[in-house]
């Protein structure tokens, strides 16, 4: 039943000709699950310098929160964003390590929860061949639906986000068909964080893998790119547009 609903949503979404129309369509298909608010956030690549930046494509949340989030630039401090980068599977607020929150991250989380006045949440990360591509956040007036529903919601999230990108005018992902890259997604992610100055241990924490695995990924990157050092690997990847820093 849930999967069939997801397929029906995909067909309906593809027929939408505006972001408002897509938002209304998504609202209609999510309401039976108790969703009262949602956001679609894409990570879009600047075609001139390759840098990726967040673009809110649709935000059906309380207007006060929408305004505050944008004005204060909360995206980079949002623990939900950090969680979405590290995970491929959907997660709830309960899955986040909220006890470790401090400073702005703590403020963002608690302000959002209070203003939106919701009880449950589900964050659905989306990844494409370039790595983390954005996420869809669903907020429930009551509790979050059980895990068996999450899978169909993930399908809806992926197609909603891609349709939203199209309507917004962002380039679709072509998985390297015309931007060939010899690295896997995980290798690119590890390389990008390394290029930002992160240690193997920090990369492991961010990606949810061990320090040893992070080291293994970076060694594989050097071999794949045929270079002697990590710095050369980063330079080659940035120049080719495979990562941005």
């Amino acid at each position: 039943m849930h999967f069939q609903r997801a397929l029906e949503f995909i067909e309906a979404a593809e027929r939408c000709s505006s972001l408002d129309g897509l938002q209304a369509c998504l609202k209609r298909y999510l309401e039976p699950y108790g969703v009262t608010q949602f956001t679609l956030m894409a990570l879009a690549q600047n075609p001139h310098n390759g840098a990726r930046a967040p673009v809110p494509l649709s935000n059906a949340t309380a207007s006060e929160w929408r305004a505050r989030y944008a004005e204060r630039g909360y995206f980079n401090s949002d623990v939900v964003t950090h969680g979405a980068i590290r995970r491929s599977a959907a997660f709830t607020w309960d899955d986040l390590d909220l006890k470790q929150l401090a400073g702005t991250s703590r403020t963002v989380f608690h302000e959002g929860r209070e203003i939106m006045a919701v009880e449950g949440s589900l964050v659905i990360p989306t990844h494409d061949a370039n790595g983390f591509a954005g996420y869809v956040s669903l907020f429930f007036e009551k509790e979050t639906p059980p895990p068996q529903v999450h899978r169909s919601l993930k399908i809806m999230a992926i197609y909603a986000l891609e349709k939203a990108k199209e309507l917004y005018g962002l380039e679709p992902d072509r998985a390297g068909w015309d931007q060939p890259c010899p690295l896997t997604v995980r290798q690119r992610e590890a390389l990008a964080f390394m290029a930002q100055g992160k240690t193997d241990w920090e990369i492991g924490v961010i990606l949810g893998i061990s320090e040893k695995t992070a080291n293994k990924h970076l060694d594989a990157v050097r071999r794949q790119l045929g270079v002697a050092t990590r710095a050369q690997a980063a330079a080659k990847a940035v120049h080719a547009g495979w990562i941005s820093i």
């Binding site: 599977a89 591509a133 993930k154 992926i158 891609e162 068909w177 890259c181 594989a220």
Partner: protein, 214 residues
């Protein structure tokens, strides 16, 4: 030109098939971490499974020296499939029962681990060759499991030609999903245009009589 390896000409490509199986071990078991797959192998360093049988067909991209640059396995889906029989929960029983004589499965699509150059053209070659094979053979549908990360690209390139067959399921690298692809002339022409191919990329099919035994 992509080479077509069928049961009839397999001996002519024995060396390349051996190389392909060793590459599959490095690619899937070592690089991509499919440890469960590795544990099933009789010979470490050589990856093969029950679907590498007399019904399997392989598409091989070869270098000028005859080394394998990339490969893809195709196999009829009317008896058993990875998507239906190995990937638990990827599709339901009704979908599995619906696989017929004109359905084939795509699996083990791979770029040679030692190949450090661009692979976009390689993947386009293999995909295009698979489409040409489908049109040669009368295949109406391909089924496969792809990482959910591929769905945005699949939508961008194959919007009218792909259908989801089930919900995402977890696997070694994250989550994957069963997809059906419908190869046709329109899809073929689109990939020719995207890749800049001016003609056929798959070598001509073997004689119909020899091929019918596959």
């Amino acid at each position: 030109m992509i080479r077509l390896v069928t049961p009839e000409n397999r001996t002519a490509y024995a060396h390349q098939l051996e190389e392909m199986h060793r590459q599959r071990w490095v690619c899937f078991v070592e690089q991509r971490g499919w440890s469960a797959l590795g544990a099933l192998q009789k010979t470490p360093g050589y990856e093969e499974d029950e679907f590498d049988d007399e019904r399997a067909v392989y598409l091989l991209a070869l270098s000028q020296q005859g080394n394998v640059l990339g490969s893809m396995r195709l196999r009829p889906a009317d008896d058993k499939t990875i998507v239906g029989d190995i990937c638990q929960g990827a599709i339901d029983a009704k979908t599995k029962a619906g696989f017929g004589a004109s359905d084939w499965e795509i699996t083990r699509t791979m770029r040679a681990p030692a190949h450090t150059g661009p692979d976009g053209q390689l993947r386009l070659q293999l995909t295009t060759a698979a489409c040409e094979f489908a049109l040669d053979r009368g295949i109406s549908r391909y089924v496969c499991c792809v990482d959910t990360q591929m769905l945005p690209a699949m939508r961008a390139l194959n919007r009218e030609h792909h259908t989801l067959l089930g919900e995402p399921i977890p696997y070694a690298e994250g989550e994957m999903i069963a997809v059906a692809l419908r190869p046709d002339q329109q899809w073929l022409e689109r990939t020719y245009a995207l890749a800049g191919f001016t003609g056929r990329v798959l070598e001509a099919p073997p004689r119909a009589a020899a091929f019918a035994a596959a």
